[in-house]
């Protein structure tokens, strides 16, 4: 089937010849708003969180496989590059979580006016950054303490 949008994109000039009507202006003509960034960021964070979860399966499957495989995964989780990846995963998960809670509130009819959405945007950013930093530093701290205890 042809794209149905074609039907309304083709118009006639006064001399009868066909012409394509202009498309509606897209992203570049709008002034940047935080809400539009947060909207697409939620989608991107969802995809990133899914990719990270797929990688996270390596951890549980290695634990199921045995100590040897688990050591390999620990090499990745101990590596700064792997830790950066995991921090990015945490950021994506936390933001998708926060934005998801906002969506659930909107779906229930709360905080959905333009004024409220603009008020909540910066709060969502703050909560996301704060929670991610607290989680990442907390987990890294606990892991370091535990491995030190084992070593001693």
């Amino acid at each position: 089937m042809q794209d149905v949008r074609d039907a309304l994109y083709v118009g006639q000039r006064s001399d009868g010849t066909l012409t394509r009507r202009p498309m509606s202006p897209h992203l570049q003509v709008y002034r940047f708003r935080l809400s539009m960034f947060l909207s697409i960021a939620n989608r991107a964070a969802g995809v990133a969180a899914a990719g990270g979860s797929a990688l996270g399966l390596c951890w549980i499957s290695a634990a199921a496989k045995g100590p040897k495989s688990f050591k390999k995964v620990q090499k990745v989780t101990g590596n700064p590059l792997g830790q950066m990846l995991m921090a990015g995963w945490a950021l994506a998960l936390v933001y998708h979580f926060v934005a998801g809670l906002r969506h659930l509130a909107w779906d229930s009819g709360y905080r959905f006016s333009k004024k409220e959405i603009n008020e909540d945007g910066p709060v969502a950013v703050g909560v996301t950054v704060g929670t991610t930093l607290a989680l990442v530093s907390g987990i890294v701290g606990v892991a370091i303490c535990r491995s030190r205890k084992k070593a001693s």
Binding site: L18, R20, S53, I60, G66, I139, I144
Partner: protein, 143 residues
């Protein structure tokens, strides 16, 4: 869309006349609710998982195996894995619906569903293996 240089009329009916009288698509509300319901369920499950990550940070394989062998942890992990990948599939379907048009739409959706299904199944099997095989191995080691 097909040829932007040469305008031609391919469809003589407007979207409104095509849609009129057909009723709703019937399936959209179910998808919407499934997305919300799985999201709500993932809120407490994620919270539980964060606590477990704190408990397991820096843990060795035997410690993780011991943790994974507890029935409660297995249940929670299994729910978490299944719901995470179910929610992933629902979300990625919306993205495909938004950005993939025409003939590629159906195969893209099926491919995505296949990949996400296999990933979710892999996670579920891993959790079960950790739960079922891990406990017997530790008893063998102990005995």
């Amino acid at each position: 869309m097909s040829n932007p240089k040469k305008p031609h009329v391919t469809v003589m009916r407007s979207q409104l006349s095509r849609a009129r009288g057909l009723g709703s698509g019937q399936a959209g509300v179910g998808h919407w609710w499934a997305e919300r319901a799985s999201a709500v369920a993932l809120v407490p499950l994620s919270g539980w998982f964060v606590i477990q990550v704190f408990r397991l940070a820096g843990a060795s394989q035997p410690e993780v195996a011991k943790w994974g062998a507890r029935p409660f942890n297995t249940t929670m992990m299994l729910s978490l894995v299944i719901l995470t990948f179910y929610h992933t599939q629902l979300g990625l379907q919306v993205i495909i619906d938004d950005y993939v048009h025409g003939k590629a739409h159906l195969p893209a959706g099926l491919l995505m569903k296949g990949i996400v299904f296999l990933l979710g199944l892999f996670g579920a099997v891993s959790v079960l293996k950790l739960a079922l095989a891990g406990s017997s191995r530790s008893t063998i080691a102990a005995g």
